[in-house]
């Protein structure tokens, strides 16, 4: 693809996966991510790939596991209720050190909730979600273009660290259409694939498993994983900082709320108030240190998210009790209007310095 086209976030992810060399997609329908399946159903056959609408989310994630053992790039996608069902498989992928990309286009919960956009799966995504001591890399785009770009990065990171990578979007990003340019992924790294299950004629068999009953085998695995996670925390943190360098007030947000807040930065800068936006692109690993650095000059923080308050816990971990952290949350089932953030900022500014 060499020219801009108008795609929704879901389609952009699907096409970017194709352009990353992903030839296996397994999914089960759920709004608001159905465009991924719909797109893959005709696009995969065009490129000689495999599309399967599985009989359930459990089946889909276990098909992902099977394909991942062969070292091939593989994708699945769902929304909250389906992602919950996939957690067993994601934990197994993590335990078996297998690369895979999982997309969660968040809808409002809990339970089946409804189909409106939400960000209430932040805890589930960033704290592992399934059982055991494991992490998944979590990437959070804020535009259709970035959804495509981060999909490509997700496949690279998955291969590099043999880890499941999650793309976390709110439903609005999945549904919104914007111009997007999706070029083929330029491979710059060679990945070790000697562990893959590709037929063992002439070599020792490889095994993909997450069951370790032998003495010391499981602690060894966990230690190996922890070292890898530390490496990822050191190398892969990414954040978009917009005018935070001299900001008195910093807004922390990701996804669609972040792009809304970006316009607030411009609006308040015009009024002479130094506002900045700190937008984590990797939700795990979270940019704790970079956020803490802003506290040298920033007086107040505002966290904006479409949940009852999940991202704010990471902000608290970064800042401690050193600075006031305000919160504007929108609960599942309701859409946020930009002027709500404006009113919130107005009230923060009016009360600045008034904390007792």
């Amino acid at each position: 693809m060499t020219e801009k086209i108008l795609l929704c976030g879901n389609e952009a992810i699907a096409e970017a996966a194709i352009q990353s060399g992903c030839r296996y997609y397994y999914g089960y329908p759920i709004t608001p991510q159905n465009e991924i399946s719909a797109y893959m159903s005709y696009r995969m056959p065009q490129v000689g790939g495999t599309f399967i609408q599985a009989e359930s989310e459990l089946a889909a994630i276990n098909m992902v596991y099977g394909t991942a053992t062969t070292g091939k790039r593989v994708l699945t996608s769902s929304s909250g209720p389906g992602i919950s069902l996939k957690q067993e498989g994601i934990s197994y992928l993590a335990g078996s050190e297998l690369p895979a990309v999982i997309v969660n286009v968040m809808r409002a919960g809990p339970g089946l909730g409804n189909i409106t956009p939400s960000q209430a799966d932040y805890f589930q995504a960033t704290r592992g979600g399934g059982h055991g001591d494991y992490r998944t890399i979590v990437l959070a785009p804020a535009s259709v273009q970035e959804s495509a770009d981060l999909t490509k990065r997700a496949f690279v990171l998955a291969d590099k660290y043999r880890i499941p990578v999650m793309l976390l979007l709110d439903g609005m990003q999945g549904q919104m259409r914007e111009p997007v340019l999706i070029e083929p992924l330029k491979e710059t790294e060679q990945f070790d694939k000697s562990w893959c299950l590709t037929g063992c004629k002439g070599r020792k068999p490889n095994i993909a498993r997450s069951l370790y009953l032998e003495d010391k085998a499981l602690p060894d695995l966990n230690e190996r994983l922890l070292k890898r996670y530390a490496e990822i925390e050191k190398r892969e943190i990414d954040v978009d900082q917009y005018k935070t360098g001299d900001a008195d007030i910093v807004i922390v947000a990701y996804g669609t709320p972040a792009r809304m807040c970006r316009s607030m930065v411009d609006l308040f800068r015009k009024k002479g108030v130094k506002v900045g936006l700190f937008r984590p692109i990797t939700l795990w690993p979270f940019p704790y240190d970079l956020l803490e650095k802003t506290s040298k000059h920033t007086q107040e923080y505002l966290v904006v998210e479409w949940s009852a308050g999940q991202l704010i816990e990471d902000v608290r971990l970064a800042l401690g009790k050193s600075k006031p952290i305000h919160f504007h949350g929108v609960l599942g089932g309701r859409l946020m209007k930009i002027n709500e953030v404006e009113s919130k900022l107005d009230s923060i500014i009016a009360n600045m310095g008034a904390h007792i």
């Binding site: 086209i5 108008l6 111009p179 809304m260």
Partner: protein
Amino acid sequence: MEYDLMIAGSGGQGILACGKIFAYAGMNENLQVTYYPSYGAEVRGGTTRCGVRYSDVTIASPIVDSADALIVFNEPSLRKYISYLKHGGMLVCNSSLVHKLPHNGTYTVHQVPATDIAIELGNEKVCNMVMSGFFLNLMPRISKQSLLKAMDEVFDDIKPALKQLNQSAMEKGMEYAG
């Protein structure tokens, strides 16, 4: 330049297709553009809508809550979405299906019997193309060329006869606007 458009009508009238065409057309004019539909729970016969936003700079939110123009294809959608039209905005109605206008509007009204024109052309379904052509004449930044290209991009796999019909319908709409 910032311009917000909301298109609303009955599920099945081609509301979302119409929105996609105007989003594509904006992209063809090198504008920043977002398109956001009401999705999922809509049904044929119920009201549906989509919002298209145009800007010279990055668009913060795809939500249209104060539209410069509201295009309505039937009366229920007029009643449901008129509150989204901003003070001094433009209301574009399919007068074949919208008979009762609100009394005390602070907006300009433009009417076209799009469904009747579509039926005259032999296919009621091209009502949305008539509306598109009609609105094109009222819309400041979209050229006919960009709209035609957008129609090809949205309907990239249709029979030549249908493509011709779509274009005729659009031109009829333009003619009606004068």
